[in-house]
């Protein structure tokens, strides 16, 4: 395998003014191992613009207080900021009302909440939960836990050879009449595949089942309107979409959230407390026990405003252009296998690959020595690895601030990999 020189057709990227965007991300302008950083690990977590950093800083410097408790000015400001963020997020994903937005630690906690609360109250022995082989462990393990507890059974949609969901067996699975809920990812973090969420929602609803969508990669890389998607629950994380870690969202239909029992008990979530029982606060506070991540919510508001200003559709178009370019460049390298859909329109900004005879960790170490940050491993998606027949893959994942030049550097780095590991 030898890396060709920079391609003649390095695409101009007219969709976004990336140079201007990069100025908002101070972390990107640093040297790593004596090379400029090329951060291509965005599916793991994104970087944060100054607008988000400033929001965090301003909150702690000026407004910090507990929410919904104090009768003083700072508490009013903190509460306004916290609830204002809820309204902004509701608006951003097209929720019918801010009470449908429950703050969580992230996608993982949001899914655990639904599995434990909805699943605990509604699943019966013999019921089925429909998952897919593409799911991140955080959309598998919570369902395994509740299935074991309730005697429910897990069913799986499988993947075709290009890493798309195979929907052919779906009618038969649903005809059994036992599927109560499906939990499927919007966008695969391991392959980049974008799933047909609307179609899934319609077919599940016909069978009187619910659909939870893992939006960890969805909300960050794809425009989201929960009404248009037609789903019942949508879970996502702030840190993958320019926000801080430790804050995320569960969106659910108000009627469903209303009927669900609390997930955790504590302060903030009660109405009255007696010795032997309590009554619950109204939505969404019923699901927000304890002092929440106030600063995180406020900074996530800044992230949402930032992404809104750039434009989610433009971000996806930019990522798809980068994916198209990456597939083209990587596709010319011998000894390199690409995974996932071959057409860029079917995927968000993720490219998973394997170099024959070289373990992904070694690929990542060599690239890191040239300042190119990628992920190597099973990406918390061991069922995907099993399906692909590999123990791990290398994964480059893009965001609004990445450039074609960084993909050229990835390709050059793979040339170094070849010069070290190629049989010679």
């Amino acid at each position: 395998m030898t890396a060709p020189g920079p391609s003649a057709q390095t695409p101009a990227l007219p969709v976004l003014d990336v140079e201007r965007i990069r100025e908002d991300f101070p972390i990107l302008s640093q040297q790593v191992n004596d090379h400029p950083l090329a951060y291509l690990d965005n599916a793991a977590t994104s970087q944060k613009p100054v607008q988000v950093l400033d929001a965090l800083n301003a909150y702690y410097r000026r407004d910090n207080a507990n929410v919904h408790r104090g009768l003083h000015e700072l508490s009013r400001r903190a509460t306004d900021g916290y609830e204002g963020a809820r309204t902004a997020v509701a608006d951003w994903i097209g929720a019918a009302s801010p009470v449908e937005i429950v703050w969580t630690r992230g996608t993982t906690e949001a899914i655990n909440l639904v599995a434990a609360s909805w699943g605990g109250a509604n699943l019966r022995e013999g019921d089925e939960i429909l998952l897919s082989e593409m799911e991140h462990h955080s959309n598998l393990v919570p369902w395994q836990l509740v299935a074991q507890r309730k005697g429910a059974r897990l069913r799986y949609l499988e993947l075709d050879d290009e890493g798309r969901l195979d929907l052919e067996p779906l009618p038969e699975i649903l005809a059994g009449g036992r599927v109560r809920i499906a939990a499927i990812t919007h966008v695969s973090n391991a392959l980049g595949t974008i799933n047909p969420v609307r179609e899934l929602a319609d077919r599940l609803h016909e069978a009187e089942a619910l659909l939870l969508v893992d939006g960890a990669q969805g909300a960050a890389h794809h425009p989201v309107d929960v009404g248009e998607l037609g789903v019942d629950f949508y879970a996502f994380s702030g840190h993958k979409m320019c926000g801080p870690t430790g804050i995320g969202v569960l969106w659910g239909r108000e009627r469903l959230l209303e009927e669900m029992p609390p997930y955790q008990g504590g302060g903030e979530m009660i109405h009255t407390v007696e010795r032997d029982f309590s009554t619950w606060a109204a939505l969404p506070h019923k699901f927000e026990a304890g002092t929440p991540n106030i600063a995180g919510a406020i900074a996530m508001h800044a992230a949402v405003e930032y992404l809104r200003a750039v434009g989610p559709a433009e971000i996806l178009a930019h990522e798809q252009m980068l994916v198209g370019y990456a597939l083209e460049r990587l596709g010319t390298l011998p000894n390199l296998r690409l995974f996932g859909p071959t057409s860029p329109e079917e995927r968000a900004g993720v490219v998973s690959f394997a170099v024959d005879g070289v373990h992904p960790h070694d690929v990542a170490t060599v690239l890191d020595s040239e300042g190119v940050a990628i992920r190597a491993g099973h990406h918390c998606a061991q069922l995907v690895m099993e399906r692909l027949g590999v123990p791990a893959t290398a994964r480059a994942s893009f965001y609004l601030y990445n450039t074609a030049e960084e993909i050229d550097r990835l390709v050059r780095g793979l040339g170094t990999v070849d010069s070290i590991f190629g049989e010679g």
Binding site: N33, D34, T365, S369, G377, H378, M385, P391
Partner: protein
Amino acid sequence: MQDPTSQLNSLYQQVILDHYRHPRNKERLENGTVEVHMRNPACGDEIKLQLRIEDEIIVDLGFTGEGCSISQASASMMTTLLKGRHVDEALSLTGRFTSMMHGDEAAARDKELKDLRALEGVSKFPIRIKCALLGFDALQEAVKRTREDEA
């Protein structure tokens, strides 16, 4: 700081690549007395190590597994070094190799570690140290189990 390219070259020395491509003793030992399966859940590196221990002597050993060049080369080197050794000696070499991984320069000059000394460069890549130690973790566990069984 050393420049990254030469650090990379010292990480991936020819001896290491040779053990990675042509691992020694990489087949399951059918008449082993103990077998240990070690996995690094963070990265999926995997080693199954079989030992035949008779009267505290490692008379034979073999391994199977999958993983990065560092984990597999280290396991291969370990098997060549430990065949025929007393268990105590094997544990002592393990300790010296571990010290080398954590940057002990005296340990890195220890000729008794033989090919394993080529892995010294790994100490400059902290996230890869676990890879280099995977086979040795399996060895220590195997010795522990053998001694527990005998006790």
